[in-house]
Amino acid sequence: MRPAPILSAFRQALGEAWAGGAGALLPLGFFAGAAVLVPLGIGTDPQTLRAVGPGILWVALALSSLVTLERIFQADTEDGALDLWLQTGAPASAIAGAKTFAHWLAAGLPLALLSPLLALMFQAEASTDLLRNAALYGLGGLAFYFWGGVGAALSATVRRGGLLISLIALPLYVPTAIFGALSMTHGPGSESAPLFLAASTLFALAVAPFAMAAALRLAAD
């Protein structure tokens, strides 16, 4: 297996994500918007905000990841790039995985990097916990994008397939959301929750590319 086509697919996807102008920033705006609006909705009591903050950010992260997923494979089927990638001889799963990873890098990683700032708006205390949590948001976000990628690949030939992606991806988000939120509490099970979160992300990284590859072959057929 030559890595060159996979690297090229990664490079093209990264360029495409940034070339959309504000395209890569849209999830960031969505993420920040949700975090800013929630305190307005539930009041400014510091105790309450501190309690719900991490969970709200997980929900906002999951929903923000869905905003741009529609385009990662749909554009490829429309402009013919998918046909070219499928004929490179490289495994379609590796190509799909590289594209999804590039997409996470452009649109998902910034969300994790922004999370400490948003956590402060939820009255979290400034401590190293915020950085640990940012890493967990990054890890969980990776799983969100890979599961979302499966939805995106399955709806690659559907116009305005955003709803379809949500319906396919949201059930797959459940383990990540559960372990992610649990890992930021101090209740029972919170100690091992980061490991389960990591496991669910690894599972997504291992399984999702093959599901995407099968879906993309169907889309090209």
């Binding site: 490079r11 093209q12 013919g80």
Partner: protein
């Protein structure tokens, strides 16, 4: 030496037997057999919707046929109606990306010059004309020598000079022992060794 040729070059580069395809409830074609030897060209003919593009996709391995088998004895180039060009890519970055992906060390400037893309070489594809986009995608054929070219309506959107250029590329490729399968609706401009009418 053509890259990707396996075994002896004397046999056909591309052959197919008993291909059949159904789309929806309609039988597009059945019992299509063909064979293309080095230096030979094959033109697919048929009215709109007859299944030329579908047959070409089957030959390229993109679509699975309902019946029959395809054997390719070498790598192929794919050039179709949808060029695979991203709006943010320029002719130079597009060709550079694919040269890297295929691991070919061809000289981009000479490919751009040959395709008449010297002037718009650094213009993003969203500002290019349809013909310039087609020329960019055709440039991929020159990045790496591959024995089989699959072309879907290669003349679409090209001006007279562009058609001349494509014809030149095709003739060069055939002379060099390559094979061509092309779906062409109107004048092919060259005399094909074989024709398949759908």
């Amino acid at each position: 030496m053509l890259r990707g040729v396996t075994g002896t070059v004397s046999g056909p580069l591309l052959s197919a037997t008993g291909l059949g395809m159904i789309r929806g409830e309609r039988v597009l074609f059945t019992g299509v057999s063909l064979s293309v030897a080095p230096g030979e060209s094959l033109v697919l003919r048929g009215s709109n919707g007859a299944g030329k593009t579908t047959l070409l996709r089957i030959l390229a391995g993109l679509t699975r046929p309902e019946a029959g088998e395809v054997t390719r004895n070498g790598l192929h180039h794919w050039f179709a109606h949808r060029e695979g060009l991203k709006p943010h890519e320029t002719p130079r970055t597009h060709l550079g990306l694919w040269a890297k992906a295929w691991g070919s060390g061809s000289d981009l400037d000479s490919v751009l010059a040959r395709m008449g893309l010297k002037r718009p070489a650094d213009v993003p594809a969203r500002y290019l004309s349809a013909g310039q986009r087609r020329r960019t995608a055709l440039g991929r054929l020159l990045l790496e020598k591959r024995p089989i070219w699959m072309l879907d309506e290669p003349y679409t959107a090209l001006d007279a000079e562009g058609r001349e250029l494509v014809l030149e590329l095709i003739e060069d490729h055939l002379k060099g022992g390559g094979a061509i399968v092309a779906a062409i609706h109107g004048e092919s401009g060259f005399v094909p060794a074989n024709e398949v009418v759908l």
